[in-house]
Symmetry: C2
Subunit: 323 residues, 2 copies
């Protein structure tokens, strides 16, 4: 009976339980909780109505890992390799040949144009439904080169807790990614509890066709929108139509999104995930091809943004530990 009463008591007082158990106690965790309590307190001057509690999250390096390269690029390279095995005549450029050989160094040397070529070759002129199935199948069989984990298991437990905490407090949680919007939608609901309509990303043009009586969308080949850097606030206002009150990122590609979010009136929260944990994940910031963080790191303190130190702030990184 005492147990039952305790259970009822705890159920009635959710504030007593820790909403962020994988975050170590410290200034960053306190600042997050204090922000959420402020904007959800009807007696606070900074109270925000539930419909305006918009929180935006970068994906690569913020919700899941992004090393050694963006996972979508690995998907694209492996798709090209598979296509080339069936039809080697598609290998018409250095970039495609590097991809088919899964030689990321050679591919990197072909520059951004080479990368776009590979993504195009792997993603273009397919029905959207088929593309989504391809991504799901790939996630089922692909494994990360150093951890051996499924890519969709390399998501950050503390960020999952933050997403759930925010949704429990009436927030809408959006992904705002430089990655492909449909690529992310293939796993975002299962991985993060974020439905397709709350994913904003880069995209190619697509077209409507009725094929054998079946109306469908075909993914095209031309870039339509690049949801990165200054494109992030543009994408947010195009898709959501109101300024978020919380933004989380990890690289300078997220700078404008944080600047735009925290530039509004009232209480705002900007948060940068700083990859400091070579042991449990990866340590990188100012250099490299992926997730470069200079300006964000230099200006975070002045702008009042939280610089989350993965090694110090996170008790756990992935939901399931690498084998």
């Amino acid at each position: 009976m005492k147990k039952l009463i305790l259970a009822l008591f705890l159920a009635a007082t959710p504030a007593l339980s820790d909403p962020l158990p994988s975050w170590n106690e410290g200034a960053n965790k306190s600042a997050i909780i204090s922000f959420v309590e402020t904007v959800t307190d009807p007696d606070s001057a900074d109270y925000v109505t539930p419909s305006a509690r918009i929180a935006v999250f970068d994906n690569d390096g913020t919700l899941w890992a992004e090393q050694p390269v963006y996972f979508q690029l690995i998907f694209a390279v492996e798709q090209v390799a598979e296509m080339a095995a069936a039809d080697p005549s598609i290998l018409t450029t250095d970039a495609l040949r590097a991809a088919a050989a899964m030689d990321y160094h050679a591919l990197a040397e072909t520059g951004e144009e080479g990368l776009i070529e590979v993504v195009r070759a792997s993603h273009s002129d397919v029905p959207l439904d088929e593309f989504m199935d391809n991504v799901s199948s790939w996630l089922d069989q692909a494994r990360h080169p150093t951890t051996g984990m499924r890519y969709d298991e390399m998501i950050y437990q503390p960020m999952l807790e933050l997403l759930t905490y925010l949704r429990d407090e009436g927030f809408s949680t959006y992904i705002v990614s430089g990655g492909g919007v449909q690529f992310i939608r293939a796993f975002a609901e299962d991985a993060y509890g974020i439905p397709p309509e709350q994913v904003i990303g880069s995209s190619v043009t697509s077209r409507y066709e009725v094929v054998d009586g079946v109306p469908q969308i075909i993914k095209g080949a031309d870039l339509f929108f690049v949801d990165d850097k200054a494109g992030k606030p543009v994408g947010i206002m195009h898709h959501i139509g109101r300024r978020p009150i919380l933004a989380a990122g990890n690289s300078d590609g997220d700078f404008q999104m944080l600047e735009f979010t925290t530039g509004g009136d009232g209480a705002r929260l900007g948060l940068i995930v700083h990859h400091t944990d070579a042991e449990r994940e990866f340590a990188y910031d100012r250099e490299g091809h992926v997730g470069v963080l200079n300006r964000g790191q230099d200006e975070a303190a002045d702008r009042g943004w939280l610089l989350v130190d993965m090694a110090d702030d996170w008790a756990k990184v992935f939901p399931v530990a690498p084998k």
Copy 2:
């Protein structure tokens, strides 16, 4: 006491009250209710989980009136007239001169290019916040030329009831309009209970700028996306990422949206508002500049789409009658 018991009884049995009181009894009303009951019944083979209950609505002619011309065009023309009063040197083309004179016939003669010119001149290179304020101010003072009503009062009571009914039954209700996405967002939440993030529309490019330390979005001048005809299913999959189960429109600009929606598996509903009521609203279909309905009318029966006859099916048109 009897009254109280009755009130409690009614409150506990919402199915007994009519969710669509402004719809006359008949085949169309029955078909709508039967569809909603089917997809929300967990025991039905056609049950749809709440997150997939996506309903899409055209705006002009489906949720609000569109005669004598699209209301956004009236807004644009009146903005140009106001701008020209302050600075006549902006009147560099026939289309702009026609707009400043509020001569819709002369404007129509300048063709689609002329219309785009006018919309551009009135909507371009302003901060998005300022544009939204302009639309709100305009709605407050502008009155419809023949009814004398506020434009945002010329919304259809039966469609408001349908939106509410669907949301009460766990649907998400989206606008998918050929009109400008930000123009519609300025009033959609107040008028229809549809929040900005559930409005999809045509758009111009926009850009991010920090002006005097204030980060903001500036509406540009170049067309970015035309959310009409085959663009509607494209816009839906870009924004929502899943195929709706209900679509409502009124013109052939909505044809592909209805075709795409009803082309999916399971129970689907396509609905066309047919403007048959010259007395209470406007009667038009196969001819004119606005809301032309040929293919939809010809194919509705074969495709199982409901052709809603405003004069017959609707007991009421506007929430507030014209004066």
